[in-house]
Protein backbone atom coordinates (compact mmCIF):
# COMPACT_ATOMS: atom_id res chain seq x y z
CA UNK A 1 0.00 0.00 0.00
CA UNK A 2 2.92 2.39 -0.58
CA UNK A 3 1.69 3.18 -4.08
CA UNK A 4 1.34 6.92 -4.62
CA UNK A 5 -2.25 7.83 -5.35
CA UNK A 6 -2.88 9.17 -8.83
CA UNK A 7 -5.22 11.85 -7.50
CA UNK A 8 -4.54 15.10 -5.67
CA UNK A 9 -6.85 15.49 -2.66
CA UNK A 10 -8.19 18.94 -1.84
CA UNK A 11 -6.68 20.72 1.16
CA UNK A 12 -8.96 21.69 4.02
CA UNK A 13 -8.87 25.27 2.83
CA UNK A 14 -9.87 24.20 -0.67
CA UNK A 15 -12.77 22.22 0.83
CA UNK A 16 -13.81 25.23 2.91
CA UNK A 17 -13.62 27.50 -0.14
CA UNK A 18 -15.94 25.16 -2.08
CA UNK A 19 -18.49 25.24 0.72
CA UNK A 20 -18.25 29.03 1.06
CA UNK A 21 -18.75 29.38 -2.68
CA UNK A 22 -21.98 27.33 -2.51
CA UNK A 23 -23.56 29.50 0.20
CA UNK A 24 -25.97 32.01 -1.29
CA UNK A 25 -26.00 35.71 -0.55
CA UNK A 26 -28.38 36.37 2.36
CA UNK A 27 -28.23 32.87 3.79
CA UNK A 28 -28.39 32.23 7.56
CA UNK A 29 -25.75 29.67 8.43
CA UNK A 30 -24.54 27.83 11.52
CA UNK A 31 -20.93 26.72 11.30
CA UNK A 32 -20.15 23.76 13.56
CA UNK A 33 -17.12 23.31 15.80
CA UNK A 34 -13.98 21.79 14.30
CA UNK A 35 -13.10 21.55 10.62
CA UNK A 36 -16.15 23.59 9.44
CA UNK A 37 -14.76 26.64 11.29
CA UNK A 38 -12.44 27.14 8.28
CA UNK A 39 -15.44 28.04 6.12
CA UNK A 40 -15.75 31.39 7.89
CA UNK A 41 -12.34 32.40 6.48
CA UNK A 42 -13.54 31.88 2.92
CA UNK A 43 -16.88 33.72 2.91
CA UNK A 44 -16.97 36.27 0.11
CA UNK A 45 -17.08 39.93 1.19
CA UNK A 46 -19.48 40.41 -1.72
CA UNK A 47 -22.14 38.29 -0.02
CA UNK A 48 -24.02 39.09 3.18
CA UNK A 49 -24.10 35.79 5.05
CA UNK A 50 -25.56 35.82 8.54
CA UNK A 51 -23.77 33.51 10.97
CA UNK A 52 -25.77 32.00 13.84
CA UNK A 53 -24.13 30.71 17.02
CA UNK A 54 -26.13 28.37 19.28
CA UNK A 55 -25.23 30.32 22.41
CA UNK A 56 -27.33 33.27 21.28
CA UNK A 57 -25.84 35.21 18.36
CA UNK A 58 -27.20 36.09 14.94
CA UNK A 59 -24.79 38.18 12.91
CA UNK A 60 -21.58 36.85 14.44
CA UNK A 61 -18.37 38.54 13.33
CA UNK A 62 -14.74 37.41 13.23
CA UNK A 63 -12.36 36.91 16.13
CA UNK A 64 -11.41 40.23 17.79
CA UNK A 65 -7.90 41.58 18.25
CA UNK A 66 -6.27 40.25 21.41
CA UNK A 67 -6.86 43.52 23.28
CA UNK A 68 -10.57 43.56 22.36
CA UNK A 69 -11.49 40.11 23.70
CA UNK A 70 -14.71 40.14 25.77
CA UNK A 71 -15.33 36.99 27.88
CA UNK A 72 -19.09 37.63 27.55
CA UNK A 73 -18.90 37.40 23.74
CA UNK A 74 -17.95 33.88 22.64
CA UNK A 75 -19.02 31.35 20.01
CA UNK A 76 -20.20 27.75 20.34
CA UNK A 77 -16.57 26.64 20.59
CA UNK A 78 -16.17 29.13 23.48
CA UNK A 79 -13.72 31.22 21.45
CA UNK A 80 -13.91 35.03 21.47
CA UNK A 81 -15.87 36.56 18.58
CA UNK A 82 -17.45 39.89 17.63
CA UNK A 83 -20.92 41.08 16.67
CA UNK A 84 -21.59 42.70 13.28
CA UNK A 85 -23.70 45.84 12.98
CA UNK A 86 -27.27 44.54 12.80
CA UNK A 87 -26.43 41.49 14.89
CA UNK A 88 -28.53 40.40 17.87
CA UNK A 89 -28.23 38.48 21.14
CA UNK A 90 -30.93 36.18 22.52
CA UNK A 91 -31.41 33.41 25.06
CA UNK A 92 -30.87 29.70 24.49
CA UNK A 93 -34.55 28.87 24.07
CA UNK A 94 -34.94 31.30 21.19
CA UNK A 95 -31.62 30.23 19.70
CA UNK A 96 -32.66 26.58 19.60
CA UNK A 97 -36.10 27.54 18.24
CA UNK A 98 -34.17 29.03 15.30
CA UNK A 99 -32.27 25.77 14.89
CA UNK A 100 -34.99 23.21 15.54
CA UNK A 101 -37.74 25.26 13.91
CA UNK A 102 -36.25 25.19 10.42
CA UNK A 103 -35.19 28.84 10.37
CA UNK A 104 -31.54 28.26 9.50
CA UNK A 105 -30.77 27.86 5.80
CA UNK A 106 -27.64 25.78 6.27
CA UNK A 107 -25.82 23.98 9.07
CA UNK A 108 -22.24 22.89 8.34
CA UNK A 109 -21.21 19.95 10.50
CA UNK A 110 -18.17 17.76 10.90
CA UNK A 111 -18.83 14.01 11.03
CA UNK A 112 -17.39 10.58 11.76
CA UNK A 113 -19.70 8.93 9.23
CA UNK A 114 -22.41 9.87 6.75
CA UNK A 115 -24.65 7.15 5.30
CA UNK A 116 -26.15 7.06 1.84
CA UNK A 117 -29.61 7.47 3.39
CA UNK A 118 -28.52 10.83 4.86
CA UNK A 119 -27.95 9.58 8.43
CA UNK A 120 -25.08 11.29 10.25
CA UNK A 121 -22.92 10.15 13.18
CA UNK A 122 -20.80 12.93 14.66
CA UNK A 123 -21.07 13.00 18.46
CA UNK A 124 -19.69 9.72 19.75
CA UNK A 125 -17.52 6.87 18.57
CA UNK A 126 -19.04 4.77 21.35
CA UNK A 127 -15.55 4.04 22.66
CA UNK A 128 -15.66 2.71 26.25
CA UNK A 129 -14.36 5.22 28.80
CA UNK A 130 -14.97 8.21 26.51
CA UNK A 131 -16.93 11.08 28.04
CA UNK A 132 -20.13 11.38 25.97
CA UNK A 133 -21.00 14.92 24.84
CA UNK A 134 -23.55 16.03 22.27
CA UNK A 135 -24.13 19.79 22.60
CA UNK A 136 -26.33 21.22 19.83
CA UNK A 137 -25.39 18.75 17.07
CA UNK A 138 -28.67 16.84 17.16
CA UNK A 139 -30.73 20.04 17.02
CA UNK A 140 -28.79 21.31 13.99
CA UNK A 141 -29.05 17.94 12.25
CA UNK A 142 -32.84 17.76 12.49
CA UNK A 143 -33.58 21.45 12.19
CA UNK A 144 -31.55 23.19 9.49
CA UNK A 145 -33.10 23.30 6.01
CA UNK A 146 -29.87 21.98 4.52
CA UNK A 147 -27.16 20.07 6.36
CA UNK A 148 -23.72 20.20 4.78
CA UNK A 149 -21.05 17.87 6.13
CA UNK A 150 -17.34 18.68 5.84
CA UNK A 151 -14.99 15.79 6.58
CA UNK A 152 -12.06 13.76 5.26
CA UNK A 153 -13.27 11.05 2.89
CA UNK A 154 -11.22 8.31 4.54
CA UNK A 155 -10.13 7.55 8.10
CA UNK A 156 -6.44 7.33 8.91
CA UNK A 157 -6.73 3.57 8.31
CA UNK A 158 -8.23 4.14 4.86
CA UNK A 159 -11.81 3.28 5.85
CA UNK A 160 -14.51 5.24 4.04
CA UNK A 161 -16.43 7.71 6.20
CA UNK A 162 -19.17 7.59 3.58
CA UNK A 163 -21.00 4.39 4.39
CA UNK A 164 -24.05 2.31 3.53
CA UNK A 165 -25.32 2.60 7.12
CA UNK A 166 -23.59 4.31 10.07
CA UNK A 167 -21.97 2.02 12.63
CA UNK A 168 -21.32 4.82 15.15
CA UNK A 169 -24.14 6.20 17.37
CA UNK A 170 -26.41 8.40 15.24
CA UNK A 171 -26.80 12.15 15.55
CA UNK A 172 -29.73 12.48 13.17
CA UNK A 173 -31.67 10.43 10.64
CA UNK A 174 -31.83 11.19 6.92
CA UNK A 175 -30.88 14.82 7.38
CA UNK A 176 -27.61 15.35 5.45
CA UNK A 177 -28.12 17.02 2.08
CA UNK A 178 -24.53 17.39 0.83
CA UNK A 179 -21.07 16.10 1.77
CA UNK A 180 -17.79 17.91 1.07
CA UNK A 181 -14.76 15.64 1.44
CA UNK A 182 -11.15 16.06 0.37
CA UNK A 183 -11.89 13.80 -2.61
CA UNK A 184 -15.36 14.83 -3.82
CA UNK A 185 -18.56 16.79 -3.35
CA UNK A 186 -21.63 14.57 -3.16
CA UNK A 187 -25.36 15.15 -2.83
CA UNK A 188 -27.49 12.80 -0.77
CA UNK A 189 -30.40 11.70 -2.95
CA UNK A 190 -33.24 9.21 -2.59
CA UNK A 191 -31.01 6.76 -4.50
CA UNK A 192 -27.85 7.33 -2.44
CA UNK A 193 -24.83 9.53 -3.08
CA UNK A 194 -24.60 11.49 -6.34
CA UNK A 195 -21.17 12.95 -7.17
CA UNK A 196 -21.15 16.66 -8.08
CA UNK A 197 -17.41 17.18 -8.29
CA UNK A 198 -14.22 15.12 -8.05
CA UNK A 199 -10.72 16.16 -7.01
CA UNK A 200 -8.03 16.24 -9.69
CA UNK A 201 -7.19 12.80 -11.08
CA UNK A 202 -10.15 11.10 -9.37
CA UNK A 203 -12.68 9.05 -11.34
CA UNK A 204 -16.17 8.00 -10.34
CA UNK A 205 -15.07 4.36 -10.42
CA UNK A 206 -12.01 5.00 -8.24
CA UNK A 207 -14.10 6.97 -5.72
CA UNK A 208 -16.73 4.22 -5.63
CA UNK A 209 -14.00 1.63 -4.97
CA UNK A 210 -12.45 3.75 -2.19
CA UNK A 211 -15.90 4.33 -0.66
CA UNK A 212 -17.13 0.76 -1.04
CA UNK A 213 -20.37 2.19 -2.39
CA UNK A 214 -22.26 2.51 -5.64
CA UNK A 215 -22.04 6.16 -6.63
CA UNK A 216 -24.01 7.99 -9.30
CA UNK A 217 -22.99 11.10 -11.21
CA UNK A 218 -25.11 14.10 -10.22
Amino acid sequence: MTQTPSYIAWTRDQMAARIANDIEDGAVVNIGIGMPELVANHLSPNKEILLHSENGILGMGPRPAADAVDPDLINAGKQPVTLLDGGAFFDHSLSFAMMRGGHLDIAILGAFQVAENGDIANWSTGKPGAIPAVGGAMDLAVGARQVFVMMEHLTKDGQSKLVHRCSYPLTGLGCVTRVYTDLAVLDVTADGFAVRELCQGMSLEMLAALSGLTLAAA
Binding site: D72, I74, K78, D91, H92, R100, A137, D139, G143
Partner: protein, 227 residues
Amino acid sequence: MLSKVRTSALDALADVRDGATIMVGGFGNAGMPMELVDALIQQGAKDLTIVSNNAGNGTTGLAALLAAGRVRKVICSFPRQTDSFVFDELYRAGKVELELVPQGNLVERIRAAGAGIGGFFTPTGYGTPLAEGKETRVIDGKGYVLEYPIHADVALIKGRLADRWGNMVFRKTARNFGPIMASAAKVSVAQVEEIVELGTLDPETVVLPGIFVSRVVAVGKSARAAA
Protein backbone atom coordinates in the same frame (compact mmCIF):
# COMPACT_ATOMS: atom_id res chain seq x y z
CA MET B 1 -41.98 47.18 50.13
CA LEU B 2 -40.96 44.60 47.59
CA SER B 3 -37.22 44.10 47.62
CA LYS B 4 -35.43 41.00 46.43
CA VAL B 5 -32.03 42.45 47.19
CA ARG B 6 -29.79 40.35 49.46
CA THR B 7 -26.65 41.67 51.02
CA SER B 8 -24.44 38.73 50.18
CA ALA B 9 -24.31 35.62 48.00
CA LEU B 10 -24.03 33.43 51.09
CA ASP B 11 -27.11 35.07 52.62
CA ALA B 12 -29.04 34.47 49.39
CA LEU B 13 -28.22 30.74 49.51
CA ALA B 14 -28.64 30.12 53.25
CA ASP B 15 -31.64 27.78 52.83
CA VAL B 16 -30.30 25.46 50.10
CA ARG B 17 -30.85 21.89 51.30
CA ASP B 18 -28.88 18.68 50.80
CA GLY B 19 -30.19 16.73 47.80
CA ALA B 20 -31.43 19.85 46.01
CA THR B 21 -31.60 20.15 42.22
CA ILE B 22 -29.73 23.28 41.24
CA MET B 23 -29.67 24.92 37.81
CA VAL B 24 -26.53 26.87 37.02
CA GLY B 25 -26.56 29.30 34.11
CA GLY B 26 -23.71 29.84 31.71
CA PHE B 27 -22.21 28.48 28.54
CA GLY B 28 -18.61 27.75 29.37
CA ASN B 29 -17.68 30.67 31.60
CA ALA B 30 -19.92 33.24 29.85
CA GLY B 31 -22.88 33.77 32.18
CA MET B 32 -21.50 31.42 34.81
CA PRO B 33 -22.49 32.87 38.23
CA MET B 34 -19.07 32.32 39.80
CA GLU B 35 -19.73 34.22 43.05
CA LEU B 36 -22.97 32.29 43.67
CA VAL B 37 -21.28 28.95 42.99
CA ASP B 38 -18.44 29.94 45.35
CA ALA B 39 -21.07 30.77 47.97
CA LEU B 40 -22.77 27.42 47.40
CA ILE B 41 -19.44 25.68 48.07
CA GLN B 42 -19.07 27.69 51.27
CA GLN B 43 -22.72 27.06 52.28
CA GLY B 44 -22.08 23.33 52.34
CA ALA B 45 -25.16 21.70 50.77
CA LYS B 46 -24.30 18.26 49.38
CA ASP B 47 -25.73 15.40 47.32
CA LEU B 48 -26.73 17.95 44.72
CA THR B 49 -28.07 17.44 41.21
CA ILE B 50 -26.62 20.11 38.93
CA VAL B 51 -28.36 21.17 35.71
CA SER B 52 -26.01 23.17 33.49
CA ASN B 53 -24.84 23.14 29.88
CA ASN B 54 -21.29 22.09 30.74
CA ALA B 55 -19.71 20.23 33.64
CA GLY B 56 -17.22 22.79 34.84
CA ASN B 57 -14.09 24.38 33.42
CA GLY B 58 -10.65 24.45 34.99
CA THR B 59 -10.63 24.39 38.78
CA THR B 60 -13.10 27.15 39.66
CA GLY B 61 -16.92 27.45 39.74
CA LEU B 62 -18.74 24.20 38.97
CA ALA B 63 -15.45 22.34 38.72
CA ALA B 64 -14.65 23.38 42.30
CA LEU B 65 -18.12 22.28 43.48
CA LEU B 66 -17.55 18.91 41.81
CA ALA B 67 -14.04 18.63 43.25
CA ALA B 68 -15.48 19.27 46.72
CA GLY B 69 -17.54 16.07 46.29
CA ARG B 70 -20.87 17.83 46.62
CA VAL B 71 -22.48 16.74 43.37
CA ARG B 72 -24.32 13.44 42.98
CA LYS B 73 -25.55 13.92 39.42
CA VAL B 74 -24.98 16.25 36.47
CA ILE B 75 -27.62 16.88 33.79
CA CYS B 76 -25.92 18.60 30.86
CA SER B 77 -25.35 18.59 27.11
CA PHE B 78 -21.59 18.93 26.79
CA PRO B 79 -19.41 17.70 29.67
CA ARG B 80 -16.40 16.90 27.47
CA GLN B 81 -14.07 19.88 27.16
CA THR B 82 -10.32 20.31 27.13
CA ASP B 83 -10.42 21.83 30.62
CA SER B 84 -13.12 19.66 32.23
CA PHE B 85 -10.64 17.30 33.87
CA VAL B 86 -12.35 17.48 37.28
CA PHE B 87 -15.62 16.08 35.92
CA ASP B 88 -13.80 13.56 33.69
CA GLU B 89 -11.98 12.03 36.63
CA LEU B 90 -15.10 11.80 38.85
CA TYR B 91 -17.16 10.34 35.99
CA ARG B 92 -14.57 7.70 35.12
CA ALA B 93 -14.30 6.77 38.80
CA GLY B 94 -18.10 6.34 38.94
CA LYS B 95 -18.38 9.10 41.55
CA VAL B 96 -20.83 11.26 39.62
CA GLU B 97 -23.86 10.29 37.56
CA LEU B 98 -24.40 11.87 34.13
CA GLU B 99 -27.65 12.47 32.24
CA LEU B 100 -26.64 13.63 28.78
CA VAL B 101 -29.33 15.74 27.07
CA PRO B 102 -29.10 17.33 23.60
CA GLN B 103 -28.70 21.06 24.16
CA GLY B 104 -31.98 22.15 22.59
CA ASN B 105 -33.88 19.50 24.54
CA LEU B 106 -32.12 20.61 27.72
CA VAL B 107 -33.22 24.22 27.38
CA GLU B 108 -36.71 23.27 26.21
CA ARG B 109 -37.18 20.90 29.15
CA ILE B 110 -36.19 23.76 31.45
CA ARG B 111 -38.47 26.16 29.58
CA ALA B 112 -41.33 23.64 29.83
CA ALA B 113 -40.93 23.50 33.60
CA GLY B 114 -41.08 27.28 33.85
CA ALA B 115 -44.04 27.52 31.47
CA GLY B 116 -46.16 24.83 33.12
CA ILE B 117 -45.90 22.35 30.23
CA GLY B 118 -46.15 18.68 31.21
CA GLY B 119 -44.07 17.33 28.32
CA PHE B 120 -43.45 17.91 24.63
CA PHE B 121 -42.58 16.06 21.44
CA THR B 122 -39.24 17.07 19.94
CA PRO B 123 -37.56 15.83 16.74
CA THR B 124 -34.12 16.24 18.33
CA GLY B 125 -32.57 12.90 19.20
CA TYR B 126 -35.21 10.78 17.46
CA GLY B 127 -33.72 7.47 16.36
CA THR B 128 -30.50 8.05 18.32
CA PRO B 129 -29.15 6.41 21.49
CA LEU B 130 -30.21 9.49 23.50
CA ALA B 131 -33.86 8.64 22.81
CA GLU B 132 -33.59 5.00 23.83
CA GLY B 133 -36.42 3.90 26.10
CA LYS B 134 -38.36 7.11 25.51
CA GLU B 135 -41.88 7.34 24.11
CA THR B 136 -41.95 8.39 20.45
CA ARG B 137 -44.62 9.47 18.01
CA VAL B 138 -44.77 10.10 14.28
CA ILE B 139 -46.54 13.38 13.55
CA ASP B 140 -47.14 14.36 9.92
CA GLY B 141 -44.59 11.76 8.83
CA LYS B 142 -41.81 12.99 11.11
CA GLY B 143 -40.50 11.21 14.20
CA TYR B 144 -40.58 12.89 17.62
CA VAL B 145 -39.47 11.98 21.15
CA LEU B 146 -41.48 12.73 24.29
CA GLU B 147 -39.41 14.79 26.71
CA TYR B 148 -40.43 15.87 30.22
CA PRO B 149 -39.75 19.13 32.06
CA ILE B 150 -36.78 19.63 34.36
CA HIS B 151 -37.77 21.46 37.56
CA ALA B 152 -35.26 22.80 40.03
CA ASP B 153 -35.24 23.82 43.66
CA VAL B 154 -32.79 26.63 43.01
CA ALA B 155 -31.48 28.44 39.91
CA LEU B 156 -28.23 30.40 40.03
CA ILE B 157 -27.88 32.93 37.21
CA LYS B 158 -25.77 35.92 36.23
CA GLY B 159 -26.99 39.20 34.73
CA ARG B 160 -25.65 42.68 34.24
CA LEU B 161 -28.20 44.90 35.98
CA ALA B 162 -31.25 44.32 38.16
CA ASP B 163 -33.66 46.49 40.13
CA ARG B 164 -35.07 45.59 43.53
CA TRP B 165 -38.17 44.03 41.92
CA GLY B 166 -35.86 41.56 40.14
CA ASN B 167 -36.21 42.92 36.60
CA MET B 168 -33.03 42.09 34.76
CA VAL B 169 -30.91 42.73 31.70
CA PHE B 170 -27.98 40.64 30.58
CA ARG B 171 -24.77 41.11 28.66
CA LYS B 172 -24.01 39.67 25.20
CA THR B 173 -23.74 35.86 25.10
CA ALA B 174 -23.70 35.68 28.90
CA ARG B 175 -27.52 35.64 28.68
CA ASN B 176 -27.75 32.04 27.34
CA PHE B 177 -29.61 29.82 29.87
CA GLY B 178 -30.12 32.50 32.55
CA PRO B 179 -33.64 33.80 31.88
CA ILE B 180 -34.98 30.30 31.13
CA MET B 181 -33.51 28.70 34.24
CA ALA B 182 -34.85 31.51 36.42
CA SER B 183 -38.38 30.52 35.36
CA ALA B 184 -37.96 26.83 36.22
CA ALA B 185 -36.81 26.97 39.84
CA LYS B 186 -38.73 27.39 43.10
CA VAL B 187 -36.09 29.91 44.15
CA SER B 188 -34.04 31.76 41.55
CA VAL B 189 -31.02 33.70 42.69
CA ALA B 190 -29.32 36.22 40.42
CA GLN B 191 -25.93 37.84 40.73
CA VAL B 192 -25.56 41.12 38.86
CA GLU B 193 -22.88 43.73 38.46
CA GLU B 194 -25.05 46.45 39.87
CA ILE B 195 -28.52 47.02 41.35
CA VAL B 196 -30.25 50.08 39.91
CA GLU B 197 -33.22 52.19 41.05
CA LEU B 198 -36.74 51.21 39.94
CA GLY B 199 -37.51 52.92 36.65
CA THR B 200 -33.90 52.90 35.47
CA LEU B 201 -34.28 49.83 33.25
CA ASP B 202 -36.13 50.55 30.02
CA PRO B 203 -39.35 48.50 30.34
CA GLU B 204 -39.26 47.82 26.58
CA THR B 205 -35.93 46.06 26.91
CA VAL B 206 -36.22 44.23 30.24
CA VAL B 207 -35.12 40.70 29.30
CA LEU B 208 -36.21 38.86 32.44
CA PRO B 209 -39.26 40.24 34.27
CA GLY B 210 -38.82 40.26 38.03
CA ILE B 211 -41.57 37.71 38.64
CA PHE B 212 -39.03 35.00 37.75
CA VAL B 213 -36.35 36.27 40.12
CA SER B 214 -36.49 35.57 43.86
CA ARG B 215 -33.25 37.08 45.13
CA VAL B 216 -30.67 39.48 43.72
CA VAL B 217 -27.10 40.06 44.85
CA ALA B 218 -24.76 42.75 43.51
CA VAL B 219 -21.23 41.44 43.09
CA GLY B 220 -19.62 44.23 41.06
CA LYS B 221 -17.84 44.16 37.76
CA SER B 222 -14.98 41.99 38.99
CA ALA B 223 -17.10 39.00 38.03
CA ARG B 224 -16.86 39.88 34.35
CA ALA B 225 -13.13 40.45 34.36
CA ALA B 226 -12.52 37.18 36.14
CA ALA B 227 -14.60 35.12 33.70
